[in-house]
């Protein structure tokens, strides 16, 4: 049993006893103390449901997968930054396409859930790999916590990610600036040291979730132009490259 459960039960028990004693003696202050104890006990029990793993455990389990993904991209000699695809009929969870060349072309009609390597294509421009975004689950949490479906909801909804990242102790805030086709995302107070320039291709779960959220909120494909990590701030530079219809 967790210590929070014990604390909650003890508070409820003491509160009930005090409320009973106050009622017998006709002392309203003691009744209030009892009610306060029960109230706090219930609150402690309600908030004791979260189970967090230690940061070291998180690093040890996630880092190796992250390195493996980077290794695959390096060995395939993929050059371009990742292209984030918002959810659409073929890919309901969205996707990340890493093209072989900077001068790439896309045919979203070819993509589906089972596609990973796009190599058996006549045109080399369309070659690359298609991955499920690492931050898909985090993005679902942003939507669940804010009770907003991000699809076409506008860029501003992505700033709701701040509260989830903050409550998970992963980052402090998310700020978004838009300059025409260019979108700049600032993730401040990042607690993990996973974010680096390598996130341009295989973004860490935090960056990935934010970029996917941006893509879903405007329902446009985004190419990652640059990711800079300085101390605890990560700056992500994205460029809009059109909606689903344009690339079908």
């Amino acid at each position: 049993m967790k210590s929070k459960h014990v604390a909650g039960i003890v508070l409820i028990s003491i509160g009930s006893l005090l409320a009973f004693k106050g009622a017998v003696e006709g002392n309203q202050s003691i009744i209030n103390a009892g009610i306060g104890g029960v109230f706090l006990g219930v609150i402690v029990l309600t908030f004791s449901t979260s189970d967090y793993i230690k940061y070291d455990a998180f690093r040890a389990t996630v880092q190796s997968y992250f390195k493996l993904m980077k290794k695959i991209v390096d060995s395939l000699e993929l050059r371009s930054g990742a292209v984030y695809i918002p959810p659409y009929s073929n890919l309901p969870d969205g996707g990340v396409f890493i093209p072989l060349h900077n001068d790439f072309d896309l045919d979203l009609a070819r993509f589906d859930r089972n596609t990973v390597f796009l190599t058996d294509i006549g045109r080399e421009k369309e070659m690359g790999i298609l991955l499920t975004p690492l931050g898909k689950e985090l993005m679902e949490m942003y939507e669940k916590y804010s009770e907003i479906d991000f699809e076409n909801a506008g860029l501003h909804v992505v700033e709701n990610a701040s509260s989830v990242l903050r409550s998970l102790n992963l980052a402090r805030s998310v700020r978004i600036e838009e300059f025409g086709d260019l979108i700049r995302v600032y993730v401040e107070g990042v607690r993990t040291d996973m974010c680096s320039e390598a996130c341009k291709q295989i973004a860490c779960p935090i960056c990935s979730s934010i970029i996917l959220s941006v893509s879903k909120s405007i329902m446009e494909l985004l190419i990652v132009e640059d990711i800079r990590a300085e101390e605890q701030t990560v700056e992500i530079k994205l460029r809009r490259i059109g909606g689903i219809d344009k690339w079908m």
Binding site: Q28, S29, I31, N32, A33, I35, G36, F39, L40, V42, I43, V44, T46, F47, T49, S50, Y52, K144, Y145, S146, E147, N160, S163, V164, R166, S167, N169
Partner: protein, 79 residues
């Protein structure tokens, strides 16, 4: 400190303040309800949806008691 811990601490401080300054049970319960509603609204986006759901019975229970208090007061005025 976790956001959850901060919320519990805020409510604990609120309960202590109410205990110090309030004598009657009905005002105390009303203030607890107000505190809980404010915390649920202000910190809503930081709270897990499951936790938000489990807070609802406590809010409904306090609202029910608040309703009884209001009815009691109305009856007193009418008499």
């Amino acid at each position: 400190m976790d956001v959850d811990d901060a919320i519990v601490l805020t409510l604990a401080v609120w309960v202590v303040i109410c205990l110090l300054f309030v004598r009657t049970v009905d005002v105390f319960i009303t203030l607890l309800l107000i505190g809980l509603l404010i915390v649920a609204e202000v910190a809503g986006s930081f709270i897990k949806p499951e936790t938000k759901q489990s807070l609802k019975p406590a809010i409904y229970f306090l609202l029910f008691i608040f309703m009884i208090i209001v009815v009691k007061k109305v009856m007193e005025v009418l008499k």
